[in-house]
């Protein structure tokens, strides 16, 4: 690592790691809650809804940060297919983290459920009651969640590939702590995926 690390914007890093924890928790809670009929069901559903709303709020901020701050560039020697895969998977992640809470909200509305986040705090219905729409959105919520989980695994595997095999500056550019020789900003040629 001869070149200094160009780090992501501090807000981008903060949002990345906090949302990573929330989204992974959300995926585990989601598959966990539909697998059970014990009291854990009610407890997990009660966490799933406000956590989803928080993710929706954060992803909007995050997209704002993404569009206003250019991320560090990918390493110059990265093969073209890996470059394309990185771009594609990052936009897929953004799309899914925006879509999943919106689908969840619309799905509950179409199924006639009140969208209760906390005791007495309720979101308005996003769409009117509609059984066919409910069935479609409920299916979409499940399959897109599995796609999001698969995309996360790919993202993690790629990050570890950069860190352990290529040993480039991709992972350090997103690490929450500042590394030696790190520079903040988006210039330089030693940086990271467009995230």
């Amino acid at each position: 690592m001869s070149t200094p690390v160009v780090k992501f914007n501090v807000y981008a890093r903060l949002l990345h790691w906090s949302m990573a924890v929330m989204i992974i928790a959300m995926l585990f809670i989601g598959v966990g809650m539909v697998s059970t009929t014990t009291e854990a069901y009610a407890q997990l559903v009660a966490i799933h809804k406000p956590l989803g709303a928080a993710i929706l709020l954060l992803v909007l901020i995050r997209l704002g940060v993404r569009f206003s701050h250019k991320p560090p560039p990918l390493p110059g020697d990265l093969p073209a297919w890996q470059r394309h895969a990185a771009t594609l998977s990052h936009w897929l992640l953004y799309a899914l983290m925006l879509l999943m809470p919106l689908i969840g909200w619309a799905m509950l509305s179409a199924g006639g459920y009140p969208v209760t986040l906390l005791d007495g705090l309720q979101l308005p219905a996003l769409v009117p009651i509609d059984p066919a729409l409910f069935a479609f959105l409920r299916g979409a919520h499940r399959y897109l969640a599995l796609l999001l989980f698969a995309t996360f695994l790919l993202h993690l595997a790629a990050a570890l590939f950069h860190a352990l095999i290529r040993r480039d500056n991709v992972l350090p550019s997103m690490l929450p702590w500042s590394s030696r020789g790190a520079r903040n900003g988006s210039q330089g040629d030693a940086g990271m995926p467009p995230e």
Partner: protein, 375 residues
């Protein structure tokens, strides 16, 4: 054969760095996938999901696409709740402030098939949706018997399996039924209660019970364990159960048509009674009744004004999930509540994706015609 010279430690490290890196990546991904599979219950087939409960009901009742997985035969009703203000001392929920809350609901037979005649020894149910002025919703699904036959979802599934019709005879296997009953005194007690409780002659003159316990939380944060029931104003008349066959021959929808006739004549009223638990009363077991002398508070009147076929009423496309509760009403530690919520959600998901079939009342025609639902 030995190599000419042993590679240095650094060279050996370099040689294994790449495979070790890939192995570490595979290990990390593998551990996460395994944790996900464990969380999803894929490694523990014995875990019961809402889908498992719905599957069991489908095996027990047969497939009836487009219908609820239980209590299939029903009709929508519309009305309101007039609160007398007495409930405010018990719960901060807006529904108990003096005044009127719009209500819709569904009367149904807990019979397992959508086109059953009404003269069957099955529990009757009333499900309700209260929409408070602040937008919060209170839903409930009540039965005309105050207890449930089993205390846990595992026992519920076992009961459905034990009483499922056998392909050869079309009837439950008596040995399996007997074995279940022998092991479940609470289910025997429920059967005895069903037998000893007179069957109301009408949906309109029946009591309806919350079955499970809940918690009411007042404005000061004090929590009380409660059950509730609806007591009819219409005079109770018992139905002679030996006449089921004759009544079915006359009109297989006699109960529903009776309700429509009564609603045609005028609104039907029930008093919402909140029963307060005392120390020692079980809140976690829907097979155990509380002593009859518990304090009951009359908190207002449910007024049912109109009926509507499921086809054009407000009740078919929602689920009367007992965990849809406003602030001021909360779940108790009764394990059936989560199970009901989970199973109802799967029932809604499945029937919503199936083409709707006509309800028995729409198919057979009703007299008098149900009133149009309010917009």
């Amino acid at each position: 054969m030995h190599p000419p010279s042993r590679p240095s430690l650094q060279e050996r490290f370099r040689r294994y760095r790449q495979p070790a890196g890939f192995a570490l990546i595979a290990l990390v991904i593998g551990v996460i996938v395994a944790a996900f599979a464990a969380s999803a219950g894929w490694l523990t087939p014995s875990r019961l999901s809402g889908a498992d409960v719905a599957d069991t009901l489908e095996q027990h009742n047969g497939a009836h696409p487009g219908f609820r997985r239980a209590h299939q035969k029903g009709v929508c009703v519309i009305g309101h709740f007039d609160s007398n203000g007495q409930g405010q001392a018990l719960s901060k929920a807006g529904v108990f402030a003096p005044g009127r809350t719009p209500v819709f609901g569904r009367f149904a037979l807990a019979v397992g098939t959508p086109y059953s005649p009404d003269g069957v020894p099955a529990p009757r149910s009333l499900a309700l949706n209260f929409t408070q002025a602040d937008g919060e919703v209170w839903r409930m699904a009540m039965n005309h018997v105050p207890l449930f036959p089993v205390a846990t979802v595992r026992d519920f599934v076992a009961l459905q399996q034990a009483t499922a019709p056998v392909p050869d005879t079309g009837k439950p296997d008596p040995a399996r039924v007997a074995a279940f009953m022998a092991a479940h005194p609470e289910t025997r007690a429920f059967g005895a209660l069903m037998k000893s409780t007179p069957t109301p002659s009408s949906f309109a003159n029946g009591n309806y019970y919350s079955i499970n316990a809940f918690r009411f939380v007042d404005a000061g944060g004090r929590s009380r364990t409660v059950r509730w029931s609806l007591a009819p104003e219409a005079a109770f008349v018992a139905l002679d159960r030996s006449r089921f066959d004759a009544l079915n021959a006359q009109d297989p929808n006699f109960l529903f048509n009776d309700l429509l006739t009564r609603l045609h004549a005028g609104p039907q009223r029930w008093h919402l009674l909140i029963t307060l638990a005392e120390p020692g009363d079980r809140s976690d077991n829907a097979t155990v009744q509380w002593p009859a002398d518990r304090t009951r508070v009359d908190v207002g009147t449910l007024v049912i004004e109109q009926a509507a076929l499921e086809e054009n009423g407000p009740c078919r496309n929602v689920t009367f999930d007992p965990l849809v509760l406003p602030a001021g009403i909360a779940a108790s530690d009764d394990p059936l509540l989560s199970a009901r919520s989970a199973a109802y959600a799967v029932s809604l998901r499945r029937r919503s994706g199936e083409p709707p079939r006509p309800s028995a009342l729409a198919r057979d025609g009703v007299a008098p015609a149900p009133m149009e639902p309010r917009p």
